[in-house]
């Protein structure tokens, strides 16, 4: 973990770049017919996979 002290202006610039990054992922998935789900790292990976499969109707 790295700790940085930023000004409000820098924090806003960071947010803009992050949102742009997520938007580019969503656009890519839609273009290739892929499913895309956003989640935080606090959610366990297996639970995330199960949730994705349930939402896709692959399993109950």
């Amino acid at each position: 973990m790295r700790r940085v002290i930023v000004t409000e202006r820098l924090r806003r610039q960071y947010r803009q770049r992050f949102e742009a990054f997520l938007e580019s992922i969503q656009t890519y998935c839609r273009g290739y017919g892929l499913s895309c789900t956003r989640s935080t790292t606090e959610v366990p990976f297996d639970q995330l996979i199960l949730r994705m499969m349930r939402s896709a109707g692959v399993t109950q």
């Binding site: 940085v4 002290i5 820098l10 960071y14 770049r17 992050f18």
Partner: protein
């Protein structure tokens, strides 16, 4: 160099001790540095915000790190700038004083010599002496601080308070820039006295008061002999001799350089007392140069050339001459000194001045106009008498057979043979009366009507020698009023007599013109001309030209009217009309001043306008050979650096620092 020494007498010497503080208690504002430093140390409480990746931070921060190495110094630089800003503001608040501002508060009376010699300008100089004085005065005004007060007094002509005591710098700047130029001699002694009275009314100790005189010092009437002695110390000694708390110190500053000048130092005109047409011009030209010069004196009457006199004047020579000319018309007589290279066709204003001072190169005088004299001749007919009277210059002759009831105003009645029982009031010349009346009784005809006795020293018989001339037909006349015989027979019978009566003078000549040879003699027209001029008297013979700065009293042209005085530049001044006399002056400009009715409708009436010629004619003002002995005004010392108070510079620097801090704030990134 500037240092700060808030405590006088602290042992600091030299430039360090040259600056004092007007408000040292305001230095406490410097304690604001403590919160500034504290705010710098105490950083803002940070807000924690977790993010999912550091990828973008690296991108953003790397961009900024690459921009400038000195950005690492931003924060300490900002602190330094803020502290500097505070320091400048506090320094401006304590109001440090230059050395020339240390003796505070000051009460200054600035005496500006705006006399005629201050208009002198050497060829090639951009400004005249008065402009130099204005600039020096402006520099002195800039040296004033808020609590200082100054008055401006002018010394040209009658000393005047141009601006009273004030601390309004704007008004003072305007006042010194508008000190008017005059052509009058200086009155420095009176001006300094006026300045002292101004300071005495200010209720301040003399130690804080000062009189500063800006003068060219070229005039003999200036205070250069005793009181000033060219220095402040001398006048201080004079003050101490008058009393402990007497006069404030007087400091003289000299202006201008020595210059050569040629001037008209006298110019007057008068009508000749012996001739109705003639007039005499008295003119004096002085060469106040160190070398011989050539000039041409051109004299015009109402713009018509009258005389041109070439002059060759040695150094210091004074040329004086009386010139005789004739003219029945009066008007403005103008004398000009012209350099030989110049031509009279060129207007003086357009040509290069012949010398340093131009106002004394022109002089004016007013020649009284000869109004036609109405002469009424009552005669059964005599060609000689009629032609002689008609030939006298300025006579408007009327011939009639009837004696008029009254004589025209200012006129003369000539009675030839025909006489009434009672003469009308006024001037009457009687020639060979045919009958007696209230003033004389006619007796027997004289057996020997020769002129034996002739009264000397009377203008009635000027240029005449009539002994043994026969006046045919003369009779013995006995006068009932006091009579002065002018010509008498051997038996002492009056042949030509002057009678005094309250209603007017009467002349009686007993000679039968048709029989004797008197009309054929050259003496007869001379006798008639003498009689006419004697009746006219010397009224209006002299209308003296005034010197600048001189006052005069004239009789009002008419009763019961309001009058104004018009200057040569067209300015008008109302005149008091308490009596039939008008007090005029002192007149500060050369040229022709006019007393006119205030009513516009009456202004065209020439009889109601009085012209007054005013000339410089002051050798003291025209003599510019000696430069001033006084030191020139030390403008740099008086004005300091740029002439402004130190707090203005400090405040300006603070503003610059504020702009710098604002720029830093806008670009500030703490990383």
């Amino acid at each position: 160099m500037i240092g700060f020494a808030g405590v006088p007498g602290s042992g600091l010497a030299g430039p360090i001790a040259q600056v004092q503080l007007a408000a040292p208690q305001l230095a406490l504002w410097g304690l604001l540095a403590v919160p500034i430093i504290a705010l710098f140390i105490l950083r803002v409480r940070l807000r924690r915000e977790p993010v999912s990746t550091l990828l973008f931070w690296d991108q953003l921060l790397d961009d900024r790190r690459r921009r400038a190495w000195w950005q690492r110094l931003r924060s300490p630089l900002s602190l330094l700038l803020q502290l500097l800003l505070l320091g400048l503001v506090v320094a401006a608040l304590v109001d440090p004083l230059w050395a020339w501002q240390a003796a505070q508060p000051r009460r200054v009376v600035l005496v500006v010599d705006n006399s005629a010699s201050m208009n002198a300008r050497l060829p090639g100089d951009a400004t005249d002496r008065l402009e130099e004085a204005r600039e020096a005065a402006a520099s002195i005004v800039r040296s004033l601080r808020d609590r200082d007060r100054m008055a401006v007094v002018t010394a040209g002509g009658l000393p005047r308070v141009h601006l009273g005591m004030t601390d309004d710098l704007r008004r003072l700047r305007t006042a010194v820039a508008t000190v008017p130029a005059t052509d009058a001699p200086d009155q420095l002694a009176a001006a300094v006295t006026l300045a002292r009275q101004l300071l005495a009314s200010e209720k301040f100790s003399n130690a804080e008061s000062e009189i500063i005189v800006l003068t060219d010092g070229g005039s003999g009437t200036k205070l250069s002999t005793k009181e000033s002695a060219g220095s402040q110390e001398a006048s201080s000694e004079a003050a101490s001799s008058e009393g402990a708390s007497a006069a404030p110190p007087v400091t003289f500053y000299g202006l201008g350089r020595a210059a050569d000048n040629v001037a008209i130092t006298a110019f007057q005109v008068r009508r000749s007392v012996a001739d109705a047409l003639s007039y005499q011009i008295l003119v004096e030209v002085s060469n106040f140069s160190r070398t011989a010069v050539e000039r041409r004196l051109e004299i015009d009457l109402e713009q018509s050339p009258v005389d041109v006199v070439p002059l060759q004047l040695d150094a210091g020579q004074v040329w004086r001459q009386t010139l005789d000319h004739t003219s029945i018309e009066g008007g403005e007589l103008v004398a000009r000194l012209v350099a030989p290279a110049a031509t009279s066709d060129v207007e003086p204003a357009d040509s290069e001045p012949a010398d340093a001072l131009s106002s004394d190169d022109v002089a004016r005088a007013v020649l009284p106009r000869r109004d036609p004299v109405p002469v009424v001749l009552v005669t059964p007919g005599n060609l000689f008498l009629q032609n002689v009277l008609a030939a006298i210059p300025g006579v408007a002759l009327t011939v009639t057979l009837e004696v008029p009831a009254e004589i025209p105003a200012g006129g003369i009645l000539v009675l030839h043979r025909t006489v009434p029982d009672e003469l009308p009031p006024g001037a009457v010349l009687v020639i060979h009366p045919e009958k007696s009346n209230e003033l004389w009784q006619i007796g027997d005809e004289l057996a020997s009507p020769l002129v034996f006795g002739q009264t000397e020293e009377t203008p009635l018989l000027a240029h005449l020698r009539l002994q043994n001339v026969a006046l045919a037909g003369a009779r013995r006349l006995e006068f009932s009023v006091e009579a002065e015989p002018l010509l008498a027979s051997p038996t002492e019978a009056p042949l030509y007599a002057r009678l005094s009566r309250p209603e007017g003078e009467v002349l009686v000549l007993d000679a039968e013109l048709e029989q004797g040879d008197l009309p054929l003699r050259i003496a007869f027209p001379v006798m008639m001309k003498n009689a006419v001029e004697w009746f006219l008297g010397t009224k209006g013979e002299l209308q003296p030209a005034l010197a600048t700065g001189q006052s005069t009293v004239i009789r009002a042209p008419a009763q019961g009217a309001a009058w104004l005085l018009r200057s040569p530049r067209g300015e008008t001044f109302p005149l008091s009309t308490d009596s039939d006399r008008l007090s005029i002056g002192p007149l500060p400009q050369t040229g022709v001043w006019r007393v006119e009715p205030r009513d516009d409708r009456e202004r065209g009436d020439r009889e109601r306008v009085v012209a007054l010629a005013v000339n410089l004619t002051s050798a003291a003002e025209s003599d510019l050979r000696e430069a001033s002995d006084f030191a020139p005004p030390p403008a740099a010392t008086l004005a300091g650096v740029g002439g402004y108070s130190m707090w203005i510079y400090l405040a300006a620097l603070a503003v610059i620092g504020l702009v710098g801090e604002w720029i830093l704030y806008q670009r500030r990134v703490v990383a």
